[in-house]
Symmetry: C2
Subunit: 208 residues, 2 copies
DNA sequence: CTTCTTGGCTATTCCCATTAGCTGTCGTAC
DNA sequence: GTACGACAGCTAATGGGAATAGCCAAGAAG
């Protein structure tokens, strides 16, 4: 019975690799064990089951993503920084699709490590937005819009949702330009309430 | 052995309900069968397994979402229509979280029904964008940005990603206003390439 | 060398998806 | 009204993954 030299870090790293290759939702302990040349139950000596492994991968990924964003932002500001951060975000999502999806799940409030990693990302984003003169509630709204646009783009791209032949790079570049323009004139006035679909007209179809 | 009166439509409807309640990724044939008062293998008389059920739910959901968007857009134009459509999109995602996620997966090109449902949605979006004078490649880019923003917002909201106390309604309204402004001045010039995170600086961390 | 810790193992249980084959039911033809 | 055939739902069985319990040897500590 030669020792395999496992550790939590090794298992998590391999789990992240598996997630990137087969997809976040198809991540399986069996696959991780096989690739480590070990029987499945052995993993339980290092990780508390599949859910715990997912959480650990999320911590790893959030840390890596945060580091990528920080490196992209450093030394730049304004639209320059925004472009760099957006590009780094998309690059990470493309190169590590499994890890990337791991970063989306909201952390449990009592999960200190994951919360810290998420806050590091937020910190970089706030720094970028500060160059636009945004702070407080304005910054919160802008951050949400930025995250939505970036995550939506990365997520749809990863799911193969951009089927049309037009250049995806250009679409992304234009979206980022739109964000830049929006943040440049990001004032709190004149935002009429959005009409809710359900109340805008009686529904004839079977949506319950 | 009293007949349960099942049919493909009934199974798919119940599957959609289960997906909304327990989550798209936790959808299980066993749960659907139990709620229909039937043994699991009986479902195979109406549906070709779990993957096929997921596809059928996707068709159902895409049709419903498309109908909601169409109803929201009818009789409006410009920013008015944009607001209504965005609101309807988010309302659907909130009220049917499981079905909603089903609509994201890109349809197989040979899946006529699903492609048709997706194109119906696209048709409504194009109609809205036409009021901004957008067509051709401009419309494609704008559509991608719109879908990214809407999907990202809905997805993050559904995942509990907006943890801060600030009003989410207002954040959404402001994002839609940003889209409106962006589409109003959506010209094809002056979009410098986005800097890729990996090439912007040597990476010190272990991202592979 | 002895001892204790512990990493990896086998064995087992449970749950879900899937397939094979049986049987009772219901619509239909006569 | 009865016989028949299609078929809906069933039981049984297989395979795979997650998780737990308990064994046993490797390797460090003394």
């Amino acid at each position: 019975m030669p020792r395999a030299g496992l550790s939590r870090a090794v298992v998590v790293r391999e789990g992240a690799a598996v997630a990137d290759e087969v997809g976040w939702d198809r991540l399986t302990l069996a696959q991780v064990a096989q690739r480590l040349g070990v029987r499945l139950p052995s993993l339980y000596k290092h990780v508390d089951g599949l859910d715990a492994l997912r959480r650990d991968i999320a911590v790893l990924a959030a840390g890596q993503l945060g580091e990528c964003l920080r490196e992209a932002a450093v030394g730049r500001s304004g639209g320059d920084a925004l472009r760099a951060v957006c590009g780094a975000y998309r690059a990470y999502a493309r190169s590590h699709p499994g890890r990337y999806l791991a970063t989306i799940r909201a952390p449990e409030p009592d999960d200190a490590d994951l919360v810290a990693a998420a806050e590091a990302i937020l910190h970089t984003v706030y720094a970028v937005l500060a160059a636009y003169g945004l702070a407080g509630d304005d910054a919160v709204d802008a951050t949400r819009a930025l995250r939505a646009a970036l995550h939506g783009f990365a997520s749809l791209e990863g799911a193969g949702g951009f089927g049309m032949p037009q250049d995806v790079e250009r679409s992304f570049s234009r979206m980022v330009s739109g964000l830049d323009a929006a943040f440049t004139s990001w004032r709190s006035n004149g935002h009429p309430p959005v009409v809710d679909g359900a109340s805008s007209a009686p529904s004839h179809n079977a949506v319950s």
